[in-house]
């Protein structure tokens, strides 16, 4: 009992303001700062170079903007997926299919975004012969939307109405969508998009799209009925159902939105790379899950936020960039990435146990 720590309230119904926790996001932000500081320190000690600040005399800037831009650019595409994964995990599910949905959507979409002429010659890799060349950009965008909707809708319907675990349903979609990606153009890459399609992922556009979507989904999760229901279902599905929330319909919506966000990522990625191949987006689902978990979204559901996920994405980017900065092999990056994912989940479990012990 907490009588001895009584501060406000009556009898046992007290609360102690000292027991209030800082928002989870503050911890994630502190972690981000510490990691940046660690790379800064290691860089100075090992190479006499700065991670964060500009050291080139011919450039007039305080920070090393080139590096900072790369950090955010390389996480923004997976970050878009992570926004969808965040709302899936908050509502108590998981989505393993997003990487494969990126692959399938990218290659199908790209086949509707090809130019007719490459350097004055007919497109050598036209998927449908003379058909569907030089389409206005809205056509591939609608195709992408249709792909994301279909994949997400199938995930959602399976999970909500056949009651199979989300892990299994989305694992099936992961394998199936990758199969679709390979089958579509027999494993060959598709290139030469129209100029308007290529403009979508040009320069810092992926970052802009990521940030706009992040703000949008932050508002949705925080201020709308939809967001409230994600947290309610993830927190106590039975209570949500007893309260009259249509849990099944909500789940379909959650997975459909996740699928659409994966399709957006596919468009940005294929546009940025000016090509699409069957292997695109491989393992992105795990990177996206890692970002959300690092950002403090609980795999048990009910807790987390878009702000946390964006910070988690930045931590992810800083670590990859920091390893390159320290001239460590890409192999080490993968090993450490794995360790970070496991570490973040262990931390989440530990937090939950501590909370329960305090009960």
């Amino acid at each position: 009992m907490t009588e001895t720590r009584t501060a406000y309230g009556i009898g046992g119904l007290t609360y102690d303001p000292r027991k209030r926790h800082l928002p989870q996001e503050v911890n994630v932000f502190i972690a981000l700062v510490l990691i940046v500081a660690a790379f800064e320190l290691l860089g100075r000690v090992l190479y006499g170079d700065s991670f964060l600040f500009n050291t080139r005399p011919n450039v007039d800037a305080v920070f090393n903007w080139a590096r900072l831009n790369i950090i955010i650019l390389q996480v923004s595409i997976v970050g878009i997926i992570a926004l969808g994964v965040t709302q899936v995990i908050i509502s108590g599910g998981i989505d393993l299919s997003s990487g494969s949905v990126v692959g399938a959507t990218a290659i199908i979409t790209m086949s509707f975004a090809q130019t007719a002429l490459v350097n004055g010659n007919p497109n050598p890799k036209a998927v449908f012969g003379d058909l569907f060349l030089d389409m206005p950009v809205i056509v591939p965008l609608l195709v992408a939307l249709a792909c994301g909707l279909t994949a997400g809708l199938i995930n959602g319907l399976l999970i909500a109405y056949t009651r199979i675990p989300p892990f299994i349903a989305t694992l099936g979609m992961m394998v199936t969508a990758r199969g679709v990606a390979r089958w579509w153009f027999k494993g060959e890459p598709i290139s030469f998009p129209t100029e308007s399609y290529a403009a979508i992922g040009k320069g810092m556009m992926p970052v802009a799209i990521f940030l706009v979507l992040a703000v949008l989904f932050h508002l949705i999760l925080r201020y709308t009925l939809y967001g409230k229901r994600c947290y309610a279902i993830g927190s106590n599905e039975e209570a949500a159902r007893m309260s009259g929330i249509n849990v099944e319909r909500h789940k379909v919506l959650v997975y459909t939105i996740a699928g659409v966000l994966a399709a957006v990522a596919a468009v940005v990625l294929s546009s940025k790379n000016l090509t699409a191949q069957a292997g695109m987006g491989m393992m992105y689902e795990l990177d996206a899950i890692a970002m959300t978990v690092i950002g403090g979204v609980s795999l048990a559901g009910g807790r987390g936020s878009i702000v946390g996920t964006v910070l988690g994405a930045l931590i992810f980017g800083v670590i990859i960039s920091g390893f390159t900065f320290l001239k460590l092999d890409a192999y080490y990056q993968e090993m450490v990435k794995g360790a970070i994912i496991v570490g973040a989940v262990v931390l989440d479990q530990w937090r939950q146990r501590r909370r329960q012990a305090r009960g």
């Binding site: 009992m1 907490t2 009588e3 406000y8 309230g9 009556i10 009898g11 046992g12 119904l13 007290t14 609360y15 303001p17 027991k19 209030r20 926790h21 949705i220 201020y223 709308t224 009925l225 939809y226 409230k228 229901r229 947290y231 309610a232 993830g234 927190s235 106590n236 039975e238 209570a239 949500a240 007893m242 309260s243 009259g244 929330i245 909500h250 919506l253 009910g302 807790r303 909370r355």
Partner: protein
Amino acid sequence: MSDIVLQTRGLTKHYGGVHALVDADFVLRRGEHVAIMGDNGAGKSTFVRQITGVERPTAGSIWFDGREVQFNGPLEAREAGIECVFQNLALCDDLDVPSNLFLGREKVLFNLGPFSILDRKGMRAATEAALQRTAVKIPNLANTIRNMSGGQRQCVAIARAATFASKLIIMDEPTAALGVQETAQVENIIRHLKAQGEPLILVSHNMRQVFDLVDRIVVFRRGRIVANLRKEETDGQDVVAYITGAKTQALEDAA
């Protein structure tokens, strides 16, 4: 119409060969607080599950608010005006007090279908008003249920029931897991509801509590209603005798 809020006639529930509830005739009048007592497995919870729509009775009829009802689920019972505080509370641990109070019936500023904008200020104000009405004291509404004591959780659950129950509140052992002070707080809320004339069914094992709070005690034993006692005409020993089967009462109608 009459002043009868809830009436069951010959309410019966069989689970396979187990006769969990047999021919229960029960009446609750306007403004009345009735306790349901009985040993474990006597049929109390089974009875509650039938009248709150959690299960469908095998036989018999339920009359609520003057007409016969058949609930196809707890939601329909709730829509009809019966709110139940279940033993497992049915709260969302990660949500704050207003969100739990308005779970499934959120107030909305702009209606945009599933993406409707929540009226957070309105729900907060309504929560404060509701807590005041039920005399529930919760110091920090923004706190999540997870960070609350058992008593506070129970108070939130009761406040929710009291806020939305237009006609009847049922509490299934609301103080079973609570400490002394927390129990006192919950009992105060129940007294408050009594003063406001809200009818209530209280399932409880606590003899002192029952004699403190209710007008009438209905005793279940082996799936049957074996006694229907006005508080003034009975005492603890008497009730225990009915619960254990040492004494029986010839009942025509539990009214």
